[in-house]
């Protein structure tokens, strides 16, 4: 076999490019494995073609590598048995002028997948926690509202209780004198009581039972001192248990009139509802 003739024929080029018919390619394979010179030349042709292709400015996008590694069945991968021999000369790989690129292992990619999976899990967990918390929060809000209602009730009860206690204290205290105010003829039936402590000058109005008043009107208590009506204050509520009024040292009688809201300087006598004398 004339080696140089084979080399110059161009058949080796066709062989490398895969352009030889299969029977000729088979023959060439045998020759190459027999003659190192041929093998050497085939390698040089291959290197040249590789270098031409590697001179390309085009590159696949990085996502291709990710997809590729994701497409490899996990069962296919064998664990690394030993580290590559760092001391072995590697001129062959660097000859083409290509810098060895950093190796991203498939395991790293799998770790990324694991990380992604656990992140998804974490997100779901957080979602569940938020959902449950939200639900619990709603329950808490409902309970809070119920508690508020109970508290308000309790506070009202306590106020009422206090008022009763106050009333009891007033009525049981012998220093307080109770004066019944009776309805004035021509007016609807109504009643109220005044408790007056002459020593301390404290004056309370209790057991008020007067007709409901329009929003622009208000009941006003008067003390008649030396024949003149003096305002003892406005009634907050026509149905209240007890309300402390203006102090009086002296009074001949007490009366309630219906006045404009905010009260009047002098009583409107036509609108007097109840009245009672102190003695």
């Amino acid at each position: 076999v004339d080696i140089s003739c084979i080399i110059s024929s161009g058949d080796l080029e066709l062989y490398v490019l895969g352009l030889l018919p299969s029977d000729e390619a088979y023959k060439m394979e045998q020759l190459i494995s027999l003659f190192p010179e041929l093998r050497q030349e085939v390698d040089r042709i291959s290197e040249t073609l590789e270098a031409v292709a590697a001179a390309s400015t085009l590159s696949p996008r990085p996502s291709v590598k990710e997809k590729l590694f994701a497409a490899i069945p996990e069962s296919d991968i064998m664990p690394e048995l030993s580290r590559p021999h760092q001391d072995v000369e590697r001129t062959e790989m660097t000859e083409a002028g290509v810098q060895p690129a950093p190796v991203v292992s498939i395991r790293q990619n799998r770790n990324k997948l694991m990380l992604a999976a656990s992140l998804i899990g974490l997100v779901l967990c957080i979602g569940a926690v938020i959902y449950i918390t939200q639900k619990k929060n709603n329950e808490v809000v409902v309970l809070q509202n119920q508690l508020d209602i109970v508290r308000r009730d309790l506070s009202r009860q306590q106020q009422q209780n206090n008022a009763y206690n106050q009333l009891l204290n007033i009525t049981l205290n012998e220093n307080f004198k109770g004066i019944q105010l009776e309805s004035v003829p021509g007016k609807p039936a109504a009643t109220a009581q005044v408790y007056w402590n002459k020593k301390t000058t404290e004056l309370y109005i209790v057991d008020i039972s007067l007709p409901q008043v329009p929003a622009d009107k208000q009941y006003q208590l008067w003390a008649i001192v030396n024949g003149k009506p003096v305002s003892a204050g406005l009634l907050q509520d026509s149905k209240r248990q007890a309300q402390r009024m203006q102090d009086f040292k002296e009074a001949d009688a007490f009366a309630i009139t219906l006045e404009k809201r905010g009260g009047s300087a002098t009583p409107t006598l036509q609108e007097m509802y109840v009245m009672g004398k102190t003695s």
Binding site: L19, S33, R39, S56, L68, A71, I72, P84, G97
Partner: protein, 183 residues
């Protein structure tokens, strides 16, 4: 921190045959660009070319046991897988129907003025422009378009034997160019 590992071709093949993932990562990093450019010249469509490249590497991974180092370099073996993959795709009906690129049978090489198919790759152009127009055409047909010897002879209107001798001349010329480039 990324680890930089280099292998001799022998080591690389040995590790690939043991289905070593790191070696495969290295293989991809080292050869994906060259194989991609070969595929892309045949099928100038990024998505399809990338998809084919992925299939090529999967084939390499699955069939590495079939690689016989006594027959040639790893790149030669992979180059043929890549070219066959691209040719198969080009000839598939699916591809013809997609009409995304021109099938080989209707290639611009079939008509007179179409002889200068533009290669949209400045890196390749830089090398190929050093060749004569005829030689460049011959290289593109044989290397990047996967045409057979007979097809090339017919298209360039030259005797069959001339195809391979001219190819030989082109390779020698390129070798000199690449060596000059290296310096």
């Amino acid at each position: 921190l990324t680890q930089i590992i280099t292998y001799t071709e022998e080591e690389l093949v040995e590790k690939l045959k043991l289905k070593n993932e790191q070696a495969f990562g290295f293989l991809y990093d080292h050869y994906s660009k060259a194989l991609y450019s070969v595929i892309y010249q045949m099928i100038p469509h990024q998505e399809i070319a990338e998809d084919l490249l992925q299939q090529v590497f999967l084939k390499i991974w699955k069939n590495i046991q079939l690689y016989d180092a006594s027959k040639g370099r790893l790149f030669t073996w992979m180059l043929n897988i890549a070219r066959n993959q691209a040719i198969d795709h080009t000839r598939s009906r699916e591809f013809q129907n997609q009409g995304k690129t021109i099938p080989i049978s209707e290639s611009v090489y079939n008509n007179e003025q179409g002889s200068d198919r533009p290669i949209r790759d400045s890196g390749l152009n830089k090398i190929l422009e050093k060749l004569t127009a005829d030689n460049r055409k011959l290289l593109e047909l044989s290397y990047f378009l996967g045409y057979t010897q007979e097809e090339i002879a017919g298209l360039l209107n030259i005797p069959l034997g001339t195809v391979k001798t001219r190819l030989r001349t082109i390779i020698l010329q390129l070798r000199k160019l690449m060596e000059l480039n290296k310096k």
